[in-house]
């Protein structure tokens, strides 16, 4: 647990920002509330911790008001709406719990931020399933790691340092092979001690074809093409052979960066390829994600409603529709008539532009091109209040601690207050 080792100095602080739950940070909190990461920071984590505190005053139509007035106004707007939309859902477990309680009470739609990205994996889980592992299995077991698609080392800067370039129980760092299928890694991913990264280069948009051919090769099908996405099929055949020969291969991807239509089909191809490999050897997938509380949102929605996101409560029971209940669609089509945007981790995670009355329960310091109807600044979980958040691998819930007291409410407190005011 986070320990105060000197005035204003905390050690063993877990990061709510990095997606991999690194909990070895040293964090300094100054008397004025400013936070800096002293040790073991990375660009993602530092950017999360070090956001300026900002103005703590709630606002209605841009004017400062007491918290109670902002809560009342939010309740009025939500109650007046035919179909309120509770979106963003970027919060700790208690924040998501509160949002679901409010959504159930109001008959709202509840959705998470960047649902498209989350669904690229979730639709595969719901259609055919997968075989995956967690970070400690990668660290201790993986002798072949295939990074599929680009941007992984910049999105998850400490993934390699903490899980790949270290000796594990069953494999030493120097024995691991790391192959990049797609992009050559940026500088951050090239620092592997003593080893140049192996790269099978292609544009990410060609990954569906590349993965389909790799799956065919793993299954032992003959492939007529000589190259796919610019990669010679012979090299993919070597990769297939390496995966079959590995004791424990891991294929890593981040669906958030697979921005093409129906990218879930590429995820599915990847997952079926992994199942195929497990006929004879061991291999697992590791989807990277979980930043800004996205795994937390889908987990809590899952256990409270049965569905991970895009849930409509308007008929009195949760109804899941991954297409019709999308935030973007409800806003574009004008079917939602009030928006509550929940974003407690990142003051830059602002609500989507919309004309409908918008209530923002957002991390203190959030700025808007146009003031929303209501803005209630809240504390960040893991800085301003304790809480829980999920890591990318879904299994491990991280206990977050309070590092400073600057008088900010938690998103759960604010949303519960709104519900009580209805």
């Amino acid at each position: 647990m986070a320990k105060l080792i000197a005035p204003g100095l905390w050690s063993e602080v877990p990061s709510p920002f990095c997606g991999i739950g690194a909990d070895d940070l040293t964090v300094r909190v100054r008397d004025d509330g400013a936070v800096t990461v002293e040790d073991n920071g990375d660009p993602v984590t530092r950017a999360g911790f070090e956001q300026p505190l900002g103005d703590k005053t709630p606002r209605v139509d841009g004017r400062p008001v007491p918290l109670e007035a902002a809560v009342s106004r939010a309740a009025e707007l939500l109650q007046a709406a035919q179909l309120p939309l509770i979106a963003g859902l970027a919060a700790d477990v208690n924040g998501v719990r509160a949002a679901l309680s409010l959504g159930d009470r109001l008959g709202a739609v509840v959705d998470a931020a960047d649902g498209e990205a989350l669904l690229r994996n979730l639709l595969v889980l719901q259609d055919s399933g997968w075989m995956t592992c967690t970070l400690a299995e990668v660290k201790n077991r993986a002798d072949l790691i295939v990074m599929v698609g680009g941007g992984l080392e910049t999105g998850f800067p400490r993934f390699f340092e903490r899980h790949v370039w270290v000796d594990g129980m069953f494999v030493r760092a120097g024995e691991r092979r790391v192959i990049h299928l797609g992009q050559a890694p940026s500088a951050a991913g090239r620092a592997s001690p003593g080893k140049a990264p192996e790269v099978l280069a292609c544009d990410d948009v060609h990954l569906p074809q590349v993965l389909a051919v790799l799956r065919a090769l793993v299954k032992g099908e003959s492939v007529a093409a000589e190259a796919v996405g610019g990669i010679p099929v012979a090299r993919l055949a070597e990769l297939a052979k390496s995966l079959k020969a590995a004791r424990y291969g891991v294929l890593v991807w981040s669906a958030a960066s697979w921005n093409w239509p129906h990218a879930e089909l590429a995820v599915q191809t990847l997952c079926e390829l992994i199942k195929e490999l497990n006929r004879t050897t061991r291999c697992s997938g590791l989807p990277l994600g979980g930043k800004l509380g996205s795994q937390t949102a889908t987990q809590v929605c899952g256990w409270q409603s049965g569905y991970p996101l895009r849930i409509r409560f308007s008929r009195g029971t949760p109804e899941y529709d991954p297409y019709l209940n999308a935030t973007e669609r409800l806003l574009d089509e004008g079917s939602a008539d009030a928006l509550l945007w929940l974003a407690a981790f990142d003051s830059e995670q602002t609500p989507p532009p919309t004309e409908i009355p918008t209530i923002v329960v957002g991390r203190c310091g959030m700025a808007f091109p146009r003031p929303p109807a209501v803005f209630i600044p809240v504390g960040c979980p893991g800085i301003d209040h304790p809480g829980h958040t999920y890591r990318t691998d879904n299994v491990v819930a991280i206990r977050l601690y309070q590092l400073r007291s600057v008088g900010l409410p938690s998103s759960a407190q604010v949303i519960r207050a709104i519900e009580q005011r209805l």
């Binding site: 889980l125 995956t132 400690a136 004791r247 569905y307 491990v396």
Partner: protein
């Protein structure tokens, strides 16, 4: 407030009360002696009603990672069983993998007041407690899974002494806020990570050289020496494999008299006789259970229909994934701790194997003599959803009904079971033993499962009905800690139960080796792994109840 429950016909096996008319008094959530001269604030006339303690499910998958994978995976199952929002109730979904709210409501509506999640992966315990924290009304608790975790396997490989293992087991119970220790396919979940596809009782783990027999013996000894009331909870080797009855019998005799609970034993009672090379081993299993008083079992009854199997045993789940219905499944290797496998499944009465599984479960129920040592489970949701318990109770209590159901099954399966010739019908007293008094005693709940003064006032009242399925499905009243929560099978008030735990003492020196191990191999700090009481209690609803351990070390 003093409540009087007047003139009910009471079944309270912990006190030998078998259908006697009694008055019960409840004050401040507890059953009390009638206070002389005190004014009764509320009286319920229970003449003609049946009164039992609230029921306890000692093995049901209600919270934690694999349950939530099952939920998220099965939108099509939820759609058929919606739970509507009311002034009192949160919306949700039911059937095979119900939402947390619905889990609490549906259990309470059947007169259950306590349930235990039997497969808490230590690294996932935080999630299990958060999910159970969102299950209303019920008391709950968990069994922490050990036996495929690398820390223990390293200890065994290195010949660590029993005392050190005991310390590790005690530390795990404390750190995970659990009440018992479970082992699943001992060593097998780890072996699967090394690409071993089977691990029989005396087979060696290819990397560690350790056998399941060693793991079972060491853990059963640890649990016993620490004085943890609940015996080691064992999901044995070779689940679902024809012929596994031999392994199960060897497991029973091999434990050499130590207390052992064999869970969902139906799945471990298969022979290889007959044209289909699949037969019932129930008679032999029941005989062994009857002969070994250190052994308890729960059945894991199969009932027909769609469900989902969710297990820590990813070795066996992967082997059975081809039977998935619908065709989707998940297997995970988890954090040098364990694993999980989630495979949706549909049991069909016209399928020979499924039909015989149904019969094998019932044979075990009916052939084990002592109702204190056999427990009513479907291994929810693996054999069937928990909502089928009233139907299962009717199968046990009503021979005519049972044989009528049997006559509809796959004809070859009917030939392979002795069920039609078994005359036994469970009595209400025996049902009260297996679902109340026995379960409480098995888990170590001294103040639950009975109706004596001092007990928590978890009380279920039924109106007798010729159809016991209907009777058990809709109690007339359910009281939780003295508060009326269900009337005529419907929730009238929502309360929050406690989390039952044990916290045996241990030598803190074990934390030094654990700290080194966590820093070197795991992905979080030891202190961040440990779950504090505040985490369970800070929402203002939850609480931690610690039950005593009588150390025998």
């Amino acid at each position: 407030m003093l409540i009087k429950l007047k003139g009910g016909t009471v079944y309270d096996p912990a006190h030998g009360i078998d259908g006697q008319v009694r008055d019960l008094y409840v004050q401040d959530g507890r059953i009390v002696e009638p206070p002389p001269g005190a004014r009764v604030d509320r009286e319920y006339d229970l003449s003609g009603k049946i009164v039992m303690a609230g029921a306890i499910d000692m093995h049901t998958h209600i919270g934690g990672g694999k349950v939530n994978i099952a939920r998220v995976m099965l939108p099509e199952d939820h759609r058929a069983d919606p739970q509507y929002h009311t002034e009192r109730l949160r919306s949700g979904c039911g059937h095979a993998a119900p939402s947390t709210w619905t889990t609490g409501y549906r259990y309470a509506e059947m007169g259950f007041t306590t349930a235990f999640e039997p497969a808490v992966l230590p690294v996932n315990a935080r999630q299990a407690h958060m999910e159970m924290g969102d299950i209303p009304i019920l008391d709950k608790g968990g069994y922490a899974m050990l036996g495929s975790d690398d820390f223990l396997l390293r200890m065994l490989r290195d010949g660590a002494d029993q005392k050190a293992v005991n310390d590790y087991v005690a530390w795990t119970l404390n750190a995970t806020q659990c009440i018992g220790i479970k082992v699943v396919n001992p060593g097998g979940i780890s072996a699967f990570k090394f690409n071993q596809r089977a691990l029989d009782l005396d087979e060696r783990h290819e990397y560690y050289g350790v056998t399941p027999r060693q793991i079972l013996k060491t853990l059963a000894t640890a649990v016993h020496e620490l004085g943890v009331p609940h015996p080691l909870h064992v999901h044995g080797c070779n689940l679902g494999v024809p012929g596994n009855v031999e392994t199960t019998l060897k497991t029973i005799t091999g434990i050499e008299g130590l207390p052992l609970h064999l869970t969902h034993i139906q799945f471990h009672s298969y022979g290889t006789e007959g044209d289909f090379k699949f037969s019932s081993g129930a008679a032999r299993i029941a005989e062994a259970v009857n002969a070994n008083p250190n052994v308890t079992v729960d059945v894991g009854q199969v009932l027909f229909g769609q469900t989902v199997t969710a297990s820590g045993d990813n070795m066996r789940q992967h082997a059975n994934a081809g039977h998935a219905h619908p065709k989707k499944w998940v297997c995970m290797d988890i954090e040098c701790d364990a694993g999980c496998g989630v495979v949706p499944f549909k049991y069909r009465d016209r399928n020979f194997v499924n039909a015989l599984q149904w019969a094998i479960g019932l044979e075990i129920f009916l052939l084990v003599d002592d109702p204190w040592r056999v427990f009513l489970t479907t291994d929810h949701p693996n054999g069937a959803p928990f909502t089928s318990y009233p139907h299962l109770i009717r199968l046990l209590m009503d021979r005519t009904f049972r044989n009528e159901q049997l006559s509809r099954l796959h004809p070859e399966a009917q030939k392979m079971t002795t069920l039609a010739s078994i005359e036994r019908e469970y009595s209400l007293y025996e049902i009260a033993i297996m679902t109340r008094a026995g379960a409480a005693r098995l888990v170590g709940l001294e103040d639950r499962g009975h109706l004596g003064p001092g007990a928590a006032a978890d009380i279920t009242v039924y109106t007798p009905d010729d159809d016991v399925e209907r009777m058990f499905a809709k109690p007339t009243y359910v009281f939780k800690d003295g508060e009326l929560v269900v009337k005529d099978g419907e929730i009238v008030h929502v309360t929050w139960g406690t989390t039952h735990t044990v916290k045996p003492d241990y030598d803190r020196a074990i934390e030094r080796s654990l700290t080194d191990y966590f820093d070197r191999y795991l992905t979080m700090k030891l202190d961040n792994f440990i779950i504090s009481d505040e985490e369970i209690a800070e929402d203002g609803r939850g609480s931690v109840t610690v039950h005593p351990c009588g150390g025998r070390g």
